[in-house]
Symmetry: C2
Subunit: 230 residues, 2 copies
């Protein structure tokens, strides 16, 4: 049994939930508000960020990248030829490149600022940086979503899944970040049919269902969020 | 034979150079100015960032994290009990946690902005963002160096090397980032004796020598940069 310290709209936490779901692993969720900097949470992860995975009799496993490598090493082999980090080296390079692309670059340029401005800031106290969203930050981030969506579309047109023939952690990472900002209506799906068709396939997987049932009081989900045929 | 597209003061490139050095691997260096966004470089790494490692007959390997996993999988076993990513799972978690700490958090909060403001901006054209350094950015980053140095000191006081008993990628990552900003005189060594003693040990390794011979025209190195007994 795993425990995940997460925030329901943290894109990196969503990635870990999808990965655990694809591995068929049971999970207990603990909601963390990382901006509150709880002492007990900082003891688990001095970086103070979500996600943090707790496995029995192990040190806390912080960060999407470290968790991803841990899951593959611990549970990858039992997936057989559906392994989410392939065993061929060139394929591993490509999956890791794209996981890093989405969990670092997309997060920094798009999903991170959008979730912070539109969701986290509602719950933050003034001294933690709460308040109305910064519209210039949102404008820059939504512009970045468009070029990322075009890149996803290009990958989806040239391959079956984003990193190659099979579903991999790269698809889960991309879909996790998109799902968080799709809730906010920040994905211009009509701009890229291939990206949209790829996302519809990933979104219909059973591992995705728990994410789609996350609703935020006071912030209604976009029209496309739950609809599998958006 | 490997080829590394790097910048001599990119902390992440320095990490890869140290890692290749510890593995005893030969390396050809190609200096890249990532802000110029050369088309041929973007074809190797669409993210447009250094480092990118080229290995014969493989796709380009972009990013310090992806390169680190690649090196360990390809060359780790031959290091035997000096392997830089240990084989015991709990130790792997700790090494990866700290590699991510330095290559992402320290880079974002301290070494990245300092190198950009003080070095890269000298070479950038005005339209690329060149010009005089932003003093508020430098002030924030140098304040962050102090708390990172205290964390390194705390790790060094409780362990032989940063992640445990043995030298690991965590030490190479920390030392790489520190070396880039030490050139600029931005490390307050007198504030933490344990951090300083740990750095002196890592700095005296043969893998470090090529870094210490990097000099930048017009920007003299700090007094402590080359001195092994600083």
């Amino acid at each position: 049994m795993y425990t995940l310290f997460h925030h329901p709209f943290c894109p990196l936490s969503r990635f870990v939930r999808l990965a655990l779901g694809e591995h068929g692993l049971d999970l207990r969720l603990v909601e963390e508000r990382p901006w509150e900097r709880r002492a007990a949470f900082l003891a688990l992860n001095p970086a103070g960020t979500t996600p943090v995975l707790i496995a029995d009799a192990r040190p806390a496993i912080p960060g999407a990248g470290v968790i991803c490598e841990f899951l593959d090493e611990s549970h990858g082999p039992s997936l057989g030829d559906r392994r989410l980090l392939p065993t061929v080296m060139d394929d591993r390079i490509e999956v890791r490149r794209l996981v890093s692309w989405f969990n670092e670059k997309f997060f920094e340029e798009a999903s991170g600022p959008l979730v912070t401005e539109r969701i986290y800031k509602r719950f933050m106290s003034e001294e933690d940086g709460g308040g109305p969203p910064a519209m210039d930050v949102i404008r820059a981030a939504t512009a970045n979503v468009r070029y990322h969506l075009a890149y996803i579309g290009w990958l989806a047109r040239t391959r079956n899944f984003l990193a190659g023939d099979q579903l991999s952690y790269a698809d889960l990472a991309a879909a996790a970040h998109l799902s968080a900002i799709d809730y906010l209506g920040d994905v211009p799906w009509t701009e890229d049919e291939a990206a949209k068709a790829w996302y519809a396939r990933v979104k219909s997987r059973p591992s995705f269902r728990p994410l789609l049932s996350e609703w935020l009081a006071g912030v209604p989900a976009s029209r496309t969020y739950v609809d599998l045929d958006f």
